[in-house]
């Protein structure tokens, strides 16, 4: 299977990797090994089944999903995709989602890296108070802030605008926290040396701190992308005009309308493919760091 090869081929060794088969005295052998494989394979198939069904059903002819629907991939047709892509709105949703995710990634990385640098390496009045009041907000569920946030954005004319969609999400406390933790690990000597050479703060930040932050920036970038790409509630509130929907809210609206199921699934596949590719490419990054990044921010 090519997908299998792609995943295994791209995985890189990492700190949390389990010991190799030869080095692990407890690795299953004989019957235990067969049983382990059997159970794991069944669980993997069950896990994959909904995604498999989504792809196969998206390739059915529109209107041909009757029950019980066959999930054997024969007599496939790209008609549902053709119809989905022939809808101008769907292209608009794709652009909206891309703008929402990519602009958020760039700005959140920049803003949180700057704040992380100052919180980790600069002394200034109110630093501790600012930082801990920021972190305390991790405790407050997003839904508490949701209504005032919406009223604020709506009254400022932010409904159906990109800035209304993007701006509130830039206040990402988790990102600032992670950046600060990482930058604290950069040796002070390095920064002092640059300062003695006459570098100002901005140059120290741009030339020394940022390049050293590449691993955490990549990790955070992937996660911020995933969060925004999959985000639903905020785009649902802000994008009231059908042209301002994202893929998630667009698909939810397709689901609510009575359009053929194969087309809803085709739209779902369109929304899923970038996530799947990002996962294939950045799989090690994602699984190794999900523990540190925690859940949705």
């Amino acid at each position: 299977m090519s997908v299998v090869d792609t995943i295994t081929g791209l995985t890189r060794p990492s700190a949390t990797r389990a010991p190799t088969a030869t080095g692990d005295p407890f690795a299953p052998r004989g019957l235990a090994k067969v049983l382990t494989h059997l159970i794991a394979a069944v669980c993997a198939l069950v896990t994959m089944f909904p995604l498999y069904a989504m792809v196969v059903l998206s390739l059915r002819r529109p209107g041909a999903i009757e029950f019980p629907a066959s999930l054997v991939p024969w007599d496939l047709s790209g008609e549902s995709f053709a119809r989905i892509f022939a809808t101008p709105e769907v292209w608009r949703w794709m652009v909206n989602t891309l703008v929402y995710a990519l602009v958020s990634v760039v700005l959140i990385l920049l803003i949180s890296a700057m704040a992380g640098y100052a919180f980790a390496k600069r002394r200034f009045k109110g630093r501790e108070v600012m930082f801990w009041s920021l972190v305390s907000m991790l405790m407050v569920p997003y839904q508490v802030t949701l209504i005032p946030l919406f009223i604020l954005v709506a009254r400022s004319g932010g409904v159906d605008t990109y800035w209304g969609l993007i701006l509130p999400g830039l206040a990402n406390v988790q990102a600032v926290f992670l950046m600060r933790q990482f930058i604290m690990g950069i040796p002070d000597d390095l920064i002092e040396a640059a300062r003695i050479d006459g570098c100002g703060d901005w140059r120290i930040f741009a030339r020394i701190v940022l390049p050293l932050c590449k691993p955490i920036l990549a990790t955070l970038g992937i996660f911020v992308f995933l969060w925004h790409w999959n985000d639903f509630l905020w785009p649902l509130l802000v994008g009231q005009d059908p042209a301002m929907r994202t893929l998630t809210t667009g698909i939810a609206s397709l689901q609510a309308e009575q359009i053929p199921l194969s087309q809803v699934f085709a739209g779902s596949v369109v929304a899923f493919v970038p996530i799947f590719l990002a996962y294939l490419v950045g799989q090690r990054y994602i699984t190794d760091n999900a523990v540190a990044v925690g859940i949705k921010g």
Binding site: A115, M139, P141, Q143, F272, T287, I295
Partner: protein, 296 residues
């Protein structure tokens, strides 16, 4: 002019304290405007009423009085708790089982783990769309159940089974994260400990029971907290799968908050629901702190 002199001049013209502040400012302003401010406003709003026209009317505890007498809210509270009671134990059980299964290095172990994590990065909306089809009558779920002799029904249209159905989708979307957390913990179990147990003559079961399992407690505890908070916020899948129905069977707290605010425009009342959600989350976090404090 030497570099030291230049540094001194720079220091006079722009105090270093201001520079640090400048770096934090964009982040802090965004934070004040879009997080801190709205959080305070959210709590205040729960004691008032806000109309679409923009009038704020002080109500004191009226919203909360209404809340505890509102069968709709009490139902939402019950739905959220049942959802949590179904999905959290199942998520953690599945995660622990699969982490232990794929813990050992064997060919394919990493591939299995990758597959288990895939649902975590999948959007909840896509999960909702696919599972709506899976649970529909004549769909895969009822086919499997009827093979075991259960009657064929659409679970999402059943007052009894709709809530377990959306809770099961919650399990599918979350267990992969649990696998990762448990695996990370397992990798910290010193192998010497297990090898010593083997030398002492412990079989696989006793090794598991007395060496591995006790080490898992902090990870499982962490997962209980995280997954419970996550379950409290169930919304996306419910929105696409059932819209709270049938007859309020899946009408969760966040769904209630959404309905009261953005469908009924009863912002103050919805704000009170938000505060209840906040308090619930806080209680869970306090229990975590208290229990972890006792353990260490």
């Amino acid at each position: 002019m030497t570099t030291i002199e230049r540094r001194a001049r720079r220091g006079r013209s722009l105090s270093p304290g201001w520079i640090g502040l400048g770096f934090v400012l964009p982040c802090f302003l965004l934070f004040l405007m879009f997080r801190f401010g709205p959080a305070i406003a959210g709590v205040l709003l729960s004691f008032a009423n806000y109309t679409v026209g923009g009038n704020l009317e002080w109500k004191g505890l009226l919203n909360y009085q209404r809340l505890i007498a509102d069968p709709g809210f009490l139902n939402a509270l019950r739905v959220t708790l049942v959802y949590t009671l179904i999905s959290v134990p199942l998520t953690i059980a599945a995660a622990t089982g699969l982490a232990l299964l794929t813990r050992r290095a064997f060919r394919g172990a990493r591939l299995y783990r990758s597959i288990f994590f895939l649902p975590v990065v999948t959007s909840l909306i896509l999960a909702g769309v696919v599972f709506t089809w899976i649970f529909s009558s004549g769909g895969p779920w009822s086919t499997v159940l009827s093979a075991f002799g259960f009657p064929v029904t659409d679970w999402l249209e059943s007052g009894t089974f709709a809530l377990p159905a959306v809770a099961l989708v919650g399990v599918w979307t979350r267990f992969g994260y649990g696998v990762l957390i448990i695996l990370a913990r397992l990798q910290e179990v010193p192998r010497e400990l297990e090898e010593a147990a083997v030398v002492d003559g412990a079989g696989p079961w006793r090794r598991f029971r007395h060496v591995v399992l006790p080490q898992l407690r902090p990870a499982v505890f962490f997962l209980v907290i995280i997954e419970t908070t996550f379950s409290f916020q169930a919304f996306d899948t419910i929105y696409v799968m059932t819209s709270g129905g049938p007859v309020d069977a899946t009408y969760s707290l966040v769904f209630d908050l959404y309905q009261e605010s953005f469908v009924n425009f009863d912002f103050g009342y919805a704000g009170a629901i938000g505060v209840v959600l906040f308090v619930l989350t806080l209680v869970i976090a306090l229990i975590q702190r208290a229990t972890l404090g006792r353990e260490s």
